[in-house]
Symmetry: D2
Subunit: 328 residues, 4 copies
């Protein structure tokens, strides 16, 4: 197959620029167009430095484009997705617009009617390691949220295999501030982040319904926290194992499940650190016993496996390319 032409819509945010940098270095993709609301503005701060010429949104420029990454805010993404599909592009949507299957749940969670519910059914939820069978033929991939990714990678196999007992599944999750986007606000100004730590969105975060839907259970108790750093995410899961199951069994099962996966590593011992996965598409997982609970820590880069990295992994799968191409 010849090089695929790729466009990024919403390229001026952290995630869009991260994607642009990845695509620019990808051996089989050509970055045909970067469009965004803040056209022409030199993006800052860069982190993954790449000189981008961001142009105003002009969907006619999608003609001849094979694949589109949509990185705009939720609500704005769905109409762009629809238009891109209409023009024959394959689409990975990094917004929340196609993650929830139920349009009423979407409306309740995001406070707006879903702009194109008729597309919800065909959207494939792109937790790549659990979706690649469907991705090969998908037109539309809903890229998972960062928190759900960090939680579901270790959790889904355990639920599927029946290794968990009764009771709540706690996920105490912590994110670097890049997850809040680059628009300056009360929450991400330096003086409010540095030398500070807090829980936020307790009981109200929009990733909770997404986690419940994919996990197939309401038992997950999810509390997000804000770290005084830019990139990185770590979820600490507390689960009661099923009778006869202990931490070693959980660890061994996860290690076996992900043995051939290049982007998931289950530690024999010790705990992951977020700076070991920064600027990669990796998910590192540690498992230990503490009292009655099995404690699982799961580290990703929220902009990597939690957003742009997984989006590229998904597009690779959709295009029939080696899934890890252009990724670390």
């Amino acid at each position: 197959m010849s090089t695929a032409r790729v466009a990024i819509l919403g390229a001026s945010g952290y995630v869009g620029r991260e994607l642009a940098a990845l695509v620019a270095q990808h051996p089989e993709l050509h970055l045909a167009a970067c469009m965004g609301a803040r056209a022409g503005i030199t993006p800052e701060p860069p982190e993954l430095p790449v000189d981008l010429a961001i142009e105003p949104l002009d969907l006619d420029r999608l003609d001849g484009v094979d694949a589109v990454f949509v990185c705009t805010p939720h609500g704005h993404a769905a109409p762009l997705v629809q238009e891109a599909l209409h023009r024959g592009c394959r689409v990975v949507d990094l917004s929340a617009d196609f993650r929830l299957r139920d349009p009423e749940l979407y409306a309740a969670t995001y406070g707006v009617e879903h702009p194109c519910p008729e597309l919800l059914e065909e959207a494939v939820y792109g937790l790549t390691e659990h979706a690649r069978g469907q991705l090969a033929t998908a037109r539309l991939c809903a890229n998972p949220g960062c928190y759900p990714t960090s939680i579901l990678v270790p959790l889904l196999p355990l639920l599927d295999a029946g290794l968990l007992g009764e009771g709540p599944i706690i996920s105490d999750s912590k994110s670097g501030v890049s997850g809040a986007g680059q628009a300056p606000g009360r929450r991400n100004v330096f003086g409010a982040v540095a030398e500070n730590f807090l829980a936020y969105g307790v009981g109200t975060h929009r990733h909770a319904p997404e986690i419940a839907q994919v996990a197939g259970t309401d038992r997950v108790v999810f509390v997000p926290h804000l770290l005084p750093m830019f990139r990185g995410m770590l979820s600490t899961l507390y689960v009661s194992p099923a009778p006869g199951i202990d931490a070693d069994a959980v660890r061994n099962y996860l290690a076996e499940r992900y043995r051939d996966e290049p982007f998931v590593r289950v530690f024999d011992r010790g705990q992951p650190e977020t700076n070991r996965v920064a600027r990669t598409n990796q998910c590192h997982i540690g498992v230990a016993a503490v009292g009655s609970q099995v404690v699982i820590t799961s580290a990703i880069d929220n902009l990597g496996k939690g957003a742009a990295g997984q989006a590229l992994q998904n597009l690779n799968a959709m295009l029939g390319l080696p899934e890890g191409l252009g990724l670390r």
Copy 2:
């Protein structure tokens, strides 16, 4: 009562210097002696800037001293405590040496025989709001660990009142790096802390037995994490309420229990942030419902209410001074 003369043993560490700064500003205490292993060395980095003349350890200088803070590492503290008591001083020990009542548990936890087990019984565990009755007549106060303080302030009243149901009590706790002390090491070098986050001591941290002893239960599942910041600590507790109890009932009970306490604040709504309690002796508490769990976040300054601040609060109580004197 005339001004009390105070000495600090182990004054060159973060906690010792924090205490020195507090004592220096206290209207009823006189800082009679600062002794430490690193005598004469200008302490760095300061944080609470105060010019200290640190002298070598010389216990004869305790003559005429009314009260002693011991800030040396565990194992080294107990003999100093014994000597200070022998000379008629009242002692607040900030090491772990008198926190655990059982010398065998101490040996198993800290890897050394307890140097003076005969003093264990009289030591008062100084979680001030729960110990002041005993403190008035105590010769020796064992100052609580930082993690236990952040956890036990919200937890003890709930356990005492029977507001909790069955099942594990999760404490996902996060600390600034000052908790690791100022001796440079692999764990606290800038490049290992900044832009990084991790769990550590999972299942092995020495504060777990202390928590279990004071809480009177092995149900607490405690996992500490290291934050990329200097001072501050936040514990996120996940508890199953007793039948008929919900998050509002938990919040109201805690608010009522601590209504007259100047150093504990239970929020009507919202969650605490560590920078609101930095450089204070405050503990801020938020309560919310998430799924089946009541989630409690508890923020302290690990060097404040988690160490030096509470130590001074305890000494105030032991000396019959207003408990908040010299504290914010």
Copy 3:
């Protein structure tokens, strides 16, 4: 003298809150009113934690108030100053409105006509150590900018004594981001500050005319930089000494000049660090020879000696109180 009643106008910014915390702990001042545009909003992030009830601006509340700190932006401050003086208050203005004596220079620098040029002449430029003779009888004190303070404390005595030779006086100055205020913007969002460093306002910063006016020379070449931290400022000065003068002579002269000043310390050897002056009103100064130049480094807390601390020092002087009261 009985306790003086103090009001703060513009209390919701970093400097206003820092001042509120200082006044609240001051033994001879009573915080009678805190007013600001963002009335009722809990200020964040706090740094110097104090619970403030900020009320809307209402100048009738200045009746019975002895002294006013004005912390509003330039242009907005002057009319408030005028009104406060009219009501018989003594005023310390922390904005730039009364720092420049020439209204045309003010207009050229700040882009607006000066609102009340008739007050310019009586305003005393409050670099306290060089202004206290005038402050005792002043109604209005123009509190110096943070950069000028860090530069002029070491520079003024050298200029006055003729210790400097020909040629440029370089000031390479670096500031923590709190100097940019708390309103979120492109410049102070976490992702733009953390792990970044840059010069800004090169050749255009508004503190340059202020420095030139007070130094009485256009030879100062001033370049400000932004540090990835919250509070603290360090200026590195490069000066050619006069014939026969060397670094030792410069150091000795400064040490002698400031020997009795509690808030200026000239180091015998070594260089100051900003964290040693954080949350104080101190200015620490180091002097060394490097090639043909004498290099002077001068460290302050930009919110302390660079703003709120010096403002309180100035008010103490205006009220006949001990100059260091309520300050470290």
Copy 4:
């Protein structure tokens, strides 16, 4: 030419690991061996994550190796360089051992006799843009220090072209803490770096003689400072232009001089920021007039163009490869 086999000696430090990551991704180089004192230890913290198997030093493993990067401390490097040359390898030495041509100056600067002065003459000082003619045939490249690189890239062309006037050339330089290496110490522990800023090595830093030698003048006044961040370096130069020369002329000359250089960018307007060059081999330069001086700011990644990046650029040049291969 077939792929060249490369070895890294001293691979466990920040620079060695950065180089390992670069070589691992280089299309024409094969990482044949990583050796270091801390063999087998998983390096931390990683920053450029790459799984390295570091082996003990064994110079017999250099047989069949084409090129060697030496990343050990000064004094230890020279004997390794000698041995590697003896075995027919081409060598890029990242220590200071071959930067100074004069062995007596070396001894005076580094406090030890030079281990192999007979090699000093043939060593090429690898400021690549000014050395590539010699690099093509060099056996040994002395990789420049980070501070000298940031200073000399803008300064050398101006000196060569006679664009500077009389008087001192000031370089006020600031570095991230990774320049201090990863061995934990009083200077790089988190509590001493975060929220702090200071000048250090004033008048005594070992890079000063290197700058003087390459610049061919003692007029450079160099003062280094420590930034509260991990990677990045910015030097602010203050120079008096020659008669008839202004900032525009300086800027235009530098822009012209470096027009075809992929790793040097001279800004038309504005100032560089260190995070735009992080994890690249770029040097970004801004020029402005301030009073009598032309002010030049020069930003590099101290681990990139200041160390590992330039070392790879130099090896590319030595091997006849495109100079930018494997670099951003």
